[in-house]
């Protein structure tokens, strides 16, 4: 696998094609918007989505953790789809999650979907975390040195003969918005005005998640 890099405030992060960022120096892995139990959240409202999203998301999370073996993990908000979602975790899923936390600093950043998480989930709950020059929070403000989630960026890239739409990191070197990691998370086009507001100009990059690597495009090339 070729290593791709997303730089924020002079810190180079490994951009994993699963949608996670890895800060090697600090042994820190960041994932955003897991939206666990989104399936059952819909089911409660009568839309009987397959109840496998949590196990799918957690197994992808386990794979990326196995790849980088981080000492610290930050889940950058909206880790659970709704306030009660953590209570609906199945026993095997809860155990899988606990197993991932063993010997790791685990930080839950709270998001708009999961503003209050119980201590029983393990790890620490925070609204934001600053490490060196970097601030991790759920909703992007556009501040320099910020890594956020919330917006679920995706990009459509023109290639020969057809276009390909994928999730992506959005970054201009000073700040970054992470793609959603959850199996049932949709996306917002990086051409949406929300991104222009954060980056102040259309001159940012989309780091598009390929099957085995991450590809960088000027956001203006995407649509």
């Amino acid at each position: 696998m070729r290593v791709s890099t997303v730089t924020v405030a002079d810190v180079g992060f490994v951009a994993d094609c699963s949608g996670a960022l890895f800060w090697e120096e600090r042994s820190l892995l960041v994932v955003s918007d897991l939206h666990l139990e989104k399936g059952s959240s819909f089911a409660a409202r009568g839309v009987l989505l397959p109840p496998y999203d949590t196990v799918a998301t957690l197994s992808r999370l386990a794979a990326v953790i196995a790849r980088h073996d981080p000492r610290q993990v930050i889940a950058l908000g909206d880790s659970f789809h709704d306030r009660d979602a953590h209570a609906r975790l199945s026993e095997p899923d809860r155990e899988a999650l606990t197993a991932l936390q063993v010997r790791r600093n685990w930080i839950w950043i709270s998001g708009n979907h999961d503003p209050a998480l119980p201590p029983s989930l393990g790890g620490v709950v925070a609204t934001e975390v600053a490490i060196g020059p970097i601030v991790f929070r759920h909703e992007p403000t556009g501040a320099a040195g910020e890594i956020a989630g919330h917006l679920h960026p995706k990009a459509r890239v023109p290639t020969r003969g057809r276009s390909i739409e994928r999730r992506c990191f959005a970054s201009d070197g000073e700040r970054a918005v992470m793609p959603a990691f959850g199996a049932y998370t949709g996306g917002l086009s990086i051409r949406d005005a929300a991104f222009a507001r954060i980056f102040g100009s259309p001159g940012f990059m989309a780091h598009v998640l390929g099957d085995n690597r991450v590809h960088a495009f000027a956001a203006t090339r995407c649509y």
Binding site: L49, P51, P158, G161, R162, S163, I164, T185, G186, F217
Partner: protein, 871 residues
């Protein structure tokens, strides 16, 4: 309707079947009843269901309704008049029939006859036509329609005071059956008339209708069906649809075939111009098409796709110096607009209508004297039905001119004309009922009245498409409707239907019922995007300016089409050439392009592939060089050159050519199995070639051929035994390779989306309350990915695979082809492109080109950017 008596029916028999009032009415119009009209009366009297096969203009509709009219007239000629007592009362009193359950007052009966049409416009038109005999004979009959447009107040009234005859659509029937009133409405039903049955049964709407019929047979066992159909390949099979299928054996309704229609006169345009090698516009022949319109009174010009219709319409008007009244009609046009065209047509104000399959069915227009079919006929039955739209006078020949747009289409037109001369039909066999439609029906049943699984299973199997439904499939569908059908039983508390103490399934809450009503039906519209006109971003590609928002709304376009474009591509929309700028959420931004021609013809082949039958005839025609004499000289020469430079494929073999060209290496094969099957073959072949290190880059498929190209020298590889064509085309590609491809296939995901919507997993229409909660959209692609990985045998995936056999992936046909050519591959190692390969190669750059490996495409796109930026 009819004008002439072609048959001599003994007067005594006529008198017996047709009461005096009716005979007089026929006579007053200068008509006498046709043999098939009387035959249907006789079937009705014998309490038999019947399928009437008749060409357009044969008085088919009247034939279908005569038994009803006679019975309701209370005449002795009809079968046992059920309602004579109330009839007199209705005749004397124009008020609605009295409804009372009180003792001594006769409870008003419900419907007598139910008419189902695939088009609501047709239902409305038939209702209007029925008014004439009803009024002129003074029959005490109330006729009403019920469609999506019927006001709520009228719908409610219809349920309380049913008319004698109700004309409606399959979807409305499903809704009525899911209501509490169903037993009251339908228990007195005597006759069911199914119009354009040949068209209904080929789709999931037919499945839905068959399940509705199965319900009706339970509620009204006395009801008999009359099917009205154009000519089909297997009438006996179609006739199964009309009668309850007893377990195990197959039974059919009686078949009545109307004879006597004059055979159509069909010719191929022998163009004065040079015949194009490829393309579908037939632009070379436009002056000749225009001349034909000018020489005839009213011409229908059929094309295969919406965008073709748009382009042709635009081109015809460009040369319309005589100011002929030429109109446009296709399914994406506004309904009011379409109706206007239809009305102008009916009033004889139009000289020509450019149309798509939107006019394959529908209201009769008497005065069409010519049908022009532009491009590939696709199937002989299909073409015959289109041709039947010309000259609805049954006894006069319809006239049609076929205009092939390229050389391959000349072959197709030639064999289609031969097939028509032999009256050879190629309608598809009756469908196997889809499981997603069954899921919708099961929920509908629960919405009506609680059901027992055993009883409903037996009832469902009386429907012909579901006659061999396995009990396990049925149970899985019920489980799906209840809790999603997941192996993980976590949704019990969210169940939509639950069993009561008696084991009857009932709906758990009124919202389920509401959602069912909003989402009934099997027609899944394409996701449409709004098209807005903005100013062009200066500087062409690579510009950095933000997209100007807002802009004038031009209309809506299919998302699938836009996904195939890259910015700066031009295409025709709403009659003008526009440039694609950007896609933001559900808005497509375009600017006005000054180009005369659009870069992207957006042909997309139309919905239907070349029929297996015509494909076989094309292969035979190629194989028989003596028959080439019947072809235009240009085509004859083309085939002769092919024979000289390469080889003309024999009827049963697969010809594979390899050659270098412009730095790439090509493999072109000629299965003649239609674009959809070729596209699937292309996807699978490129996977295999990739594994065989042949480094394929892309492929293009048309109806006749498939061309793959890449970096590796395929000729060299074949010559040196590094690539074995028999292994490459081995049917085992439908195993693991197919599975791997299906995991990511966009076509499979679209197929799955349709199943998810029809089955009711995902709603497409929402109550206001739900909308406000913003739970509106959820990508079915994500569901597909997760479900495939975690429960690959889920009933919805099975439904999607069932669809893939015949739908967008056409797997069954591909599979048949691979078995047919197994061990019969002929390879030609050429120095350069062959005459037969030219059309396929010319389509590269015009048609969508597919490549598999997303990473490679993304990397290539990224590198291109670097190159642009550094040079």
């Amino acid at each position: 309707m009819s004008t002439l008596d072609l048959f001599s029916v003994p007067p005594s028999e006529t008198a017996d079947l047709l009461p005096r009032r009716f005979r007089d009415w026929f006579a007053s119009r200068g008509w006498s009843p046709r043999e098939h009209q009387l035959a249907l009366l006789a079937k009705a009297r014998e309490e038999r269901s019947a399928l009437l096969i008749a060409p357009t203009g044969a008085g088919k509709t009247l034939a279908g309704f005569l038994p009803t009219l006679v019975e309701l007239a209370g005449e002795p000629g009809g079968s046992k008049p059920l309602r004579q007592a109330s009839e007199a009362a209705v005749a004397a009193d124009p008020r609605p029939k009295v409804v009372s359950t009180g003792r001594g007052v006769r409870r008003s009966s419900g419907l007598h006859t139910l008419y189902i049409s695939p088009l609501k416009a047709l239902a409305v038109d038939i209702a209007r036509n029925l008014e004439t005999p009803v009024a002129e004979m003074g029959l005490p009959i109330r006729v009403e329609t019920r469609t999506g447009d019927t006001p709520v107040s009228r719908r409610q009234r219809q349920r309380r005071y049913p008319p004698d005859i109700l004309l409606t659509t399959p979807e409305q029937l499903a809704l009525l059956l899911a209501s509490d009133d169903a037993p009251f409405l339908f228990s007195s039903l005597k006759r069911i008339v199914l119009d354009e049955l040949h068209a209904l049964v080929t789709s999931k709407r037919g499945d839905l209708l068959s399940l509705g019929l199965a319900r009706l047979w339970t509620i009204a066992p006395q009801a008999r069906a009359i099917g009205l159909s154009a000519t089909v390949a297997e009438p006996e099979q179609l006739a199964r649809f009309l009668v309850p299928q007893p377990g195990g054996e197959s039974v059919s309704a009686d078949v009545v075939i109307a004879g006597g229609a004059a055979p159509p006169v069909v010719e191929m345009l022998d163009t004065r111009e040079r015949l194009p090698w490829s393309g579908h516009s037939a632009r070379h022949a436009l002056p000749e098409v225009y001349e034909l319109i000018n020489r005839n009174k009213t011409t229908l010009v059929f094309v295969n796709t919406r965008s073709q219709a748009e382009m042709l319409f635009q081109d015809l008007w460009r040369m319309n110096d005589d100011g002929l009244a030429i109109a446009l009609h296709h399914g994406s046009l506004d309904v009011a607009q379409r109706r206007k065209v239809e009305d102008a047509m009916a009033a004889g104000r139009l000289r020509g209508v450019v149309c798509t399959s939107s006019l394959d069915l529908g209201v009769d227009w008497g005065d069409v004297d010519l049908v022009i079919n532009i491009g590939a006929p696709k199937g002989s039955s299909r073409l015959m039905q289109r041709i039947g739209r010309a000259n609805h006078r049954f006894d006069e020949a319809s006239r049609a001119v076929l205009v092939p747009a390229n050389r391959f289409e000349v072959l197709e037109c030639r064999v289609a004309i031969d097939a028509i001369a032999e009256n050879a039909q190629d309608t598809p066999p009756l469908r196997t009922g889809a499981l997603d439609v069954l899921a919708q029906h099961v929920l509908g049943c629960a919405c009506g009245k609680p059901f027992l699984s055993d009883e409903l299973y037996d009832e469902v199997r009386t429907a012909a498409p579901y006659a061999s439904l396995a009990r396990t499939d049925f149970d899985d569908v019920v489980d799906f409707v209840a809790t999603g059908g997941y192996a993980l039983k976590t949704y019990e508390r969210f169940a939509r239907i639950k069993q009561d103490k008696q084991g009857r399934w009932r709906v758990t809450n009124p919202k389920v019922r509401q959602s069912y009503r909003l989402n009934v039906g099997t027609i899944v519209e394409e996701t449409m995007l709004k098209v807005r006109l903005v100013r062009s971003r200066a500087g062409g590609s690579g510009s950095t300016g933000a997209i100007a928002r807002g802009g004038r709304m031009l209309g809506e376009i299919e998302e699938v089409f836009i996904e195939g474009l890259v910015p700066a591509d031009t295409f025709v929309f709403g009659g003008e050439v526009v440039r694609y700028e950007a896609l933001v959420e559900d808005q497509v931004y375009v600017s006005r392009a000054n180009d005369k021609d659009a870069k992207v013809p957006s042909y997309m082949g139309g919905k239907f592939p070349l029929s297996t039958y015509l494909a076989e005839r094309v292969r035979k025609l190629l194989d028989n060089s003596r028959a080439w004499n019947g072809l235009p000289d240009q085509v004859h020469d083309w085939l002769s050159l092919q024979r000289k430079f390469s080889r003309v494929p024999a009827a049963r073999e697969l010809l594979v050519e390899t050659f270098p060209r412009g730095g790439s290496h090509y493999l072109v094969c000629y299965p003649f199995e239609g674009r959809l099957a070729h596209q699937t073959l292309g996807m699978l072949l490129t996977r295999r070639l990739e594994r065989g290190r042949a480094r394929p880059l892309g492929f293009v498929a048309n109806e006749y051929a498939l061309a793959v190209w890449g970096v590796g020298d395929l000729s060299f590889m074949i010559r040196h035994g590094k690539l074995d064509l028999n292994a490459l085309f081995d049917p085992d590609m439908l195993g693991d390779d197919l599975e791997a491809w299906l995991a990511e296939s966009a076509l499979m995901k679209r197929t799955f989306r349709n199943c998810a919507i029809i089955s009711g997993l995902i709603a497409r229409r929402f109550t206001d309350e739900e909308k406000s909660r913003r739970q509106v959209l959820f990508s079915t692609d994500l569901i597909y990915d997760v479900l495939r990985k975690h429960q690959a045998d889920h009933v919805l995936l099975r439904a999607a695979r069932g669809d893939a056999a015949t739908g967008l992936l056409d797997l069954r046909r591909l599979s048949d082809m691979l078995s047919r050519i197994h061990g019969r591959i002929t390879h030609k190692d050429l120095d350069h492109v062959s005459p037969l390969a030219v059309p396929a190669l010319l389509e590269i750059g015009r048609e969508s080109v597919y490549g598999e490996a997303s990473d490679e495409l993304l990397a290539e796109a990224a590198e291109e950017l670097v190159r642009e930026a550094t040079t």
